[in-house]
Symmetry: C2
Subunit: 507 residues, 2 copies
């Protein structure tokens, strides 16, 4: 790297736009360009390099989408305040999360596999739960669908239903038009530059994870080992365990997965499953430097990184950071869905495959036996909905809505004594830590009795006996009134449970 402005090689096989993006990204990551530095105007840089101005604009927009540049109307474009390893965000953190969560001392524990499968039988989860649904559902994962543009929604299905009805299963990797629309969506909403050919349409995140796990099991040919976050998404863990994987819990800290633990593992796993943009459930965001360390480890261990990007479209505080998939196209499988962006009712998700053809071939072999579960008509409807711009507009609308709801959460629950609130930088859920498991259980039970459904942090533990204590709750689904009531009930339940024991009435 010779200077702040990348040189362009017109004879190279790589397109000029890509050279620009990669050159600038490299200079930012290497510290040649630093947070806050202004970059040349698009006009000046285009002139200096002798390229078209539109090429420079496109490169800047991509880097802004990836979180490297900060472009604002009427202000010079600057290098964004990236959150680097361990250090505080340039914007600061208002939620006290950083040093208080993920306090687990167990770093690596083996043998998640069989135990996990055995646990599954008793873990019915919400679908199996109470006969009467809760009055206020604050379980994490529910978006708001009240403002979906129903006119575009209906038009999209009408269009899809009017197409000829083929006499075969949908294409194994999805209907071409939908794959192209998803690639566009990822470029615009997430800064991930991928081709339609890299996209596999799935029936949501669970089916995507199951497909990747099955494909890896096929490639490994024996005992597949996958490192998972602790605490982490228990359903995701069990889903891959059901495909024959043994999961190996790796503790997360306030930022996300601890790469040092992976590095020290004498026998590296075949894959690691991470939620870098908004650790589930604790809410940490993996700094760029740690992302690069994780990818470096994956390269040396020849491991696949499964990036579960489940809610990164909603970022409330701090810039979005580049997806792992945009930093390494060889080892990362990006998994995402429209469950948060639209609704889980649609059962629509996707994988973005790495360049390496092995995984692609394995997935093709599985899809040949087990055809894509996504109805062709639903795929065509989703493509039409994306093409109409309705999804993009809905994200913009709900982003404001969820930012407002998040403020309600902060107003109601921030600063409770001994109950730090965290995980609110992005996404649709928050964590309220509590001093111990007994208190958390009392609070969850009391809330359930009052018709307010929340999850217990303990449910996310991947290491039996090392359970966190607290509540995990979503704030996107209910309307403002119900949310306000639910938050008030959380506040009261926590206050009651934390009251000194002697002050409580005895039975």
């Amino acid at each position: 790297v010779d200077g702040p402005i990348p040189a362009i090689d017109r004879d190279a096989r790589s397109p000029i736009g890509l050279q620009l993006v990669e050159g600038l990204r490299r200079r930012i990551l290497d510290g040649v360009l630093r947070p806050g530095d202004t970059v040349p105007s698009t006009r000046a840089l285009a002139s200096e390099l002798g390229v078209s101005r539109s090429a420079v604009v496109a490169a800047y927009e991509q880097l802004a989408g990836e979180g490297y540049l900060d472009m604002r109307q009427g202000a010079p474009t600057r290098v964004a305040a990236l959150i680097l390893a361990g250090g505080p965000s340039a914007e600061g953190l208002d939620d006290g999360r950083r040093d208080e969560t993920g306090a687990s001392s167990a770093r690596v524990t083996a043998g998640g596999g069989a135990g996990g499968v055995a646990r599954a039988a008793g873990a019915g989860g919400p679908a199996n739960a109470a006969p009467a649904p809760p009055r206020i559902d604050l379980l994490p994962g529910r978006p708001s669908t009240a403002r979906i543009d129903t006119r575009s929604w209906r038009a999209a299905w009408r269009h899809a239903a009017a197409l000829d009805i083929p006499s075969e299963s949908p294409p194994p990797f999805g209907v071409p038009r939908l794959r192209a629309e998803i690639a566009d969506h990822l470029r615009l909403a997430r800064g991930v530059a991928c081709a339609p050919e890299d996209v596999v349409v799935t029936a949501g995140t669970a089916e995507a994870l199951a497909l990747v796990a099955s494909a890896l099991a096929l490639l490994v040919g024996g005992a597949l080992r996958v490192a998972v976050e602790h605490p982490g998404y228990p359903s995701a863990r069990r889903t891959i365990e059901r495909r024959g994987a043994t999961t190996i819990p790796v503790a997360v800290d306030g930022d996300g997965i601890d790469v040092e633990v992976l590095r020290r593992m004498p026998r590296p796993p075949h894959a690691v499953m991470v939620t870098p943009s908004h650790q589930y459930p604790l809410g940490g965001r993996l700094p760029v430097a740690t992302r690069l360390e994780l990818l470096g480890w994956a390269r040396s261990a020849r491991a696949v990184v499964i990036e579960d990007d489940y809610d990164s479209e909603f970022r409330h505080l701090g810039p979005p950071l580049p997806a792992l998939a945009s930093l390494d196209s060889d080892r990362v499988v990006l998994v995402g869905s429209f469950s948060k962006v639209l609704t889980p009712w649609l059962r629509l998700g996707y994988l973005v495959l790495p360049a390496d053809p092995a995984l692609r071939d394995a997935i093709a072999a599985i899809r040949a036996d087990e055809p894509s579960p996504v109805p062709g008509t639903a795929q065509e409807a989703a493509a039409a909905l994306l093409a109409s711009g309705a999804v993009r507009r809905h994200i913009a609308v709900t982003r404001r809505e969820y930012a407002h709801r998040r403020r309600l959460v902060l107003a109601a629950l921030d600063g409770l004594p001994n109950a730090p609130l965290s995980g609110l930088d992005g996404g649709l859920h928050a964590v309220l830590e509590l001093p111990d498991a007994a208190t958390a259980a009392v609070v969850v039970d009391r809330l359930a009795a009052e018709g307010v459904a929340v999850a217990s942090l303990a449910e996310y533990s991947a290491v039996p006996g090392d359970d966190g204590a607290g509540l995990v709750f979503g704030y996107a689904g209910p309307n403002d009134t119900l949310l306000a009531e639910g938050l008030e009930r959380i506040r009261s339940a926590v206050a009651a449970a934390m009251r000194p024991r002697e002050a409580q009435p005895t039975a």
Copy 2:
């Protein structure tokens, strides 16, 4: 059993209609009532038993749907000519299948499991195959969609798209209205009396089989062993192997699976997967007596019977036989789909669960982690389509259409020397046996070069080294002209391959 007319116990907890059905069915199976016997008129029986005439009509209709009674307009209702163990059908067989297929001498071979998974990588199947699609696609499994009532189809999707958009995944076992419509469909089209609560909506047969296998693996808690038909559906085998099952091939004869082989197994499998109404691929139909033997074995071995009822709506010759699920509601899981009845494009299938709650709970636990892959909107659309009667009408239309196509197949290929045609009693595909594997390979390759896609019987082998020799081809998908050309090309290719070697031109 005291006489030909069942006694009714008004104090019993079992409804009168059910007592009637069960009493009559038992008398037929026990030979008290014999094929060809007339049964009393509904009026006479109602009067004799002191029950309503409509109860008797309903009971007769159910038994007719199950294949026990033969009801014809203007003629007395008779006991149907059931195909009993090994004996020839009352209608006779016009295809020479019975003694010439399934000539395998290997009866049981262990260790399908790991080998099957390893095979999958190379078995891309049609989805992976040639870049240019075949001009005439005679691969088995494609229905005709040309005559789907597009007006009802569009109306159904329009209706579903106009409903409120929930912010959660569809219910784990499916949208209630669709479960009720599927239960109705099964009663009318298949004589299976089940409640909506017994139905699980799935994304086609593969997802249904995967779900059952995962649930059984959860229940068994260790190494799940599943007996499968040999030859049989290779994708189904690999699908359940990917859920951790070891498959144990059991040879089929002209009728279907050989129950004696199951009986002699020193360590019975946890489950057996069968295609009793139209063995895939050979086309046998399991006689009622053998069905009862299979169920008797399953009871004593405490095994689950997975009944893959993939094309039983289309029966061309001989009465439909009762589904295993209608003979034993405790041990049988019925698996079916709308892939043949409508189109695989819809990705819609179902399970009918046995009364035993264990499997139900295990499936609920899995669905809690991995939500139903079937979009809520697609489920509502399918329910509306079924409710409109369009599916029932479409089955009637295509039944005539396929019967006609079947006659084209018989006209073109029946009676070829050393190449018996079989499997044509029902469904949408046929088998043309050939003297040896080399001949079959030559024919398949020549047809592929001419743009005609057919499957090789060898692909269905579950026992390496014990491959059948022949072609498996579908006749429902292409129109009459293309089908006629495809059949003529099969005839020529077979004739050329069977010509004495000396008569062939040498290179």
